[in-house]
Symmetry: C2
Subunit: 354 residues, 2 copies
């Protein structure tokens, strides 16, 4: 693993095994269709994308190309893998349509809202301040990875929205030659890839980038303990990527690498606590204030008004809501002190793992 091939995307993709990739990030050409030159008032020329890799003869040709590489992506993705594709209004509606035709299932359309976009010099339309990322699974039934709590943590404790405000890649992050000229027209920011990779993959997962460019996907994969694989057909960029990767070190954010916010307690049936003699059928469970006591049955249920409920449904019943986490609600009395039953769940898990 951790391979970078100086190779055309389609040629490379065909060499990858079926269902071997956990996550794909693809930044294909956008087919911008710009004409002439855009000149600022002071006379300087705006250097946009005029690269040969963005040249196509028609939508049809662009669609065929997109269809081919997206089909390959679908083949190599694991059953529960997922894919992100970034684009702009020129191409993303074609990409989205083709992906839906291929059976991909859209989880989110994430908006990259640029804090500092290129303004519209001529005042002819709204400043084009966004790009769109389609996050999809290969089919509607995929059990995809989503590190919900990690993203919530990064977002300051609130669940992360589908609109991401991130600056364009500039300053020291932007790769330049010794004359200060940008080395690639469309280098993507680290922050963007950080969110993509941390949200939808786990440590040691294999991340594929079919159009590497400056290799931000590989760089962020290395930073956060993922394996990377990708293709870039222009040799000058491949050398750039190698050089960039050599200077890349693992992130100091170990909690994010180890995914601690999204590690889930193993499920434990209540009966297991009885089998392990942590609690005894017939004893009483209490809420955190020592009130609302309920008796425990042989089968690990709670008795409320002569009816049996699971610890979860039972606590919900008392709270007058539909669902509740009983592990956080119930306590037992030990030496007259209330002890959360969740402590015993953890003990059971520790016993199993040892």
């Amino acid at each position: 693993m951790d391979q970078i091939h100086n190779m055309d995307c389609l040629k490379g993709m065909r060499k990858i095994e079926n269902e071997s990739i956990d996550l794909i990030f693809a930044d294909p050409p956008y087919y911008m269709q710009t004409e002439g030159q855009l000149i600022r008032v002071e006379g300087s020329i705006y250097l946009g994308v005029n690269d040969t890799w963005d040249q196509f003869n028609s939508y049809n040709e662009y669609d065929q190309f997109s269809f081919e590489w997206l089909k390959q992506c679908q083949r190599v993705l694991k059953r529960n893998g997922s894919i992100w594709v970034i684009g702009s209004f020129q191409n993303i509606y074609r990409i989205g349509y083709i992906m839906q035709q291929l059976g991909y299932w859209i989880i989110n359309d994430v908006i990259w809202s640029k804090k500092n976009p290129t303004p519209n010099f001529m005042g002819t339309r709204f400043t084009n301040a966004n790009e769109i990322l389609l996050w999809c699974t290969k089919s509607p039934k995929s059990k995809y990875t989503f590190n919900y709590k990690t993203m919530k943590h990064i977002n300051g404790g609130k669940q992360m929205k589908s609109v991401w405000e991130i600056g364009i890649c500039s300053g020291k992050e932007r790769l330049r030659d010794d004359k200060g000229r940008k080395l690639h027209n469309t280098q993507k920011p680290i922050e963007l890839l950080k969110r993509v990779i941390l949200s939808s993959s786990r440590k040691n997962d294999v991340v594929l980038d079919p159009f590497m460019g400056t290799g931000t996907t590989a760089v962020v994969s290395k930073m956060y303990g993922r394996k990377y694989l990708g293709f870039e057909k222009e040799e000058k960029y491949v050398e750039l990527i190698y050089h960039r990767l050599r200077k890349t070190e693992e992130s100091i954010e170990k909690n994010l690498i180890e995914n601690v916010y999204d590690i889930k307690e193993k499920r434990v049936p209540m009966k297991r606590l009885i089998e392990n003699k942590f609690i005894v059928p017939g004893e009483f469970l209490f809420d955190k204030n020592g009130e609302n006591k309920s008796q425990l049955t042989q089968s690990g249920k709670v008795l409320i008004a002569h009816s049996e409920y699971s610890i979860h449904k039972g606590s919900a019943k008392i709270l007058g809501i539909v669902n509740n986490n009983g592990w956080d609600y119930w306590h037992v009395k030990r030496n007259d002190i209330l002890k959360p039953i969740n402590d015993y769940r953890k003990k059971v898990n520790e016993t199993k793992n040892s």
Copy 2:
């Protein structure tokens, strides 16, 4: 004009004349697979590209439907009219693709970023906090209306971006029955339609809404002096719209209605100022400080270093930039006081109009 028809969209559209509409706002349904029933439409849709795509095509009916009404919209739009379509990830990639196939030209994809979206209760994806509006002309060559300065004014003096942060429709604006239940699931906020209508139409323009719903398009059209026209197939909504419109009054923002920020001075050739004897060939023009004087030629050009330039190119030459507005730069001396030549342009225009 100002008609609301209790009628199916397609049936209604067929009664509209060719090239008679200035602006369309469409909020089409996007029940795609399980929800609701789709209208059967005649004929078949050929979107080009690749027949093998049909293998997964559960979207066919939706595409047919979208194709039909979008084709009608293209027919009824004036040459220089434009259309907005709003959707979310379930349908907007189909809409965008079909529009491009039909030859529509995307001006912007505007993101409605919701300040207060419905949270994702299960924590299974990013909070879906955006909808997308595609703003398109019927062909790449259309000279569409864009009230750039009006939008810049609304946006506090900065050019408006393609990402709009607007709250969802709630509070007093949200239409409810006497039991407080919302009357429509997808009522669009006034602020959203205000931006759509003010940016891309002028006073007395005809605004069409093929899927009226709660009629926000008509309401905002009335508020800002546009004519409205639309279809809604459910009678209960039609009655709601009538009721809502009766309570709607013209906005107090007269400057926005009269479009004062985007009214342009009529073009005047410099020669006209000579013909009207406001200025005399041979006299000198000055910048606002009385420096940088240049002599005026017979043909209304300025002489700089023995070369003739238009007043615009000439002032730009002096400023060392590519282009400049000569009307704002040049002055003549009258009784030893500098007088902007732009004053004479205004006089010429007043003479023409009287």
